[in-house]
Symmetry: C2
Subunit: 121 residues, 2 copies
């Protein structure tokens, strides 16, 4: 197991209802993904699509004095996704079932991101 995939697996284990955790580049290229549960949703493709908005949102926030982007969460009918920048180049995404504990997901995402900084810097 790679240095990156162990934290991703732990993240999924700590959040009941987690479907997948992924480290991605801001260009949308996945670096590593742990899939805890396969469903009908093509998570990899969806995260690539979502990631394209991340760079845009981050730029807008900085341009209009809202400051550094800390987190984006996207709730859709069948999936909740929480995305958090790790470095200027990479971000961490956690995909959850809609009924999963969102607060717990956010908390463990926030705790996991710093663990990955050294490996991605």
């Amino acid at each position: 197991m790679s240095v990156l995939s162990a934290p991703l697996e732990r993240l999924c284990q700590r959040v009941p209802g987690a479907l997948a955790a992924s480290i991605m580049g801001l260009d949308g290229l996945p670096v590593d993904t742990h899939t805890a549960s396969k469903g009908d949703i093509d998570l990899s493709s969806l995260l690539v699509e979502y990631s394209s908005t991340l760079a845009q949102v981050r730029e807008s926030a900085q341009m209009f004095a809202a400051g550094a982007l800390e987190e984006i969460s996207i709730r859709a009918e069948n999936l909740t996704t929480i995305i958090r920048p790790i470095t200027t180049e990479y971000f961490l995404a956690l995909a959850l079932l809609p009924e999963a504990n969102f607060g717990k997901g956010r908390y463990h995402l926030r705790m996991t991101a710093p663990e990955l900084v050294d490996e991605l810097s």
Copy 2:
């Protein structure tokens, strides 16, 4: 006061730390905005920028079976923004101080959106 601005003002009053509430078209054009507190952030321009990502995220979610978009929240260093579609054409956005009660903001946004459907349909 217009039929639309009264619910926006009430929404801001119910959430301590609310800076502004806005109804916008998916094309980024603001329909009505209530500003509760003016700060350094150009909220109108920022919401226009954020709204351009909303259409994209909604399309991606539907395309990859995540289903209908229910909510996006964007946390930046100096501002938290929660966005919720009202109809297929319009959405409601609430801008909060970072220290505001996020859960309360989400709750009142969810309660306010249905009040606006009739006016915007």
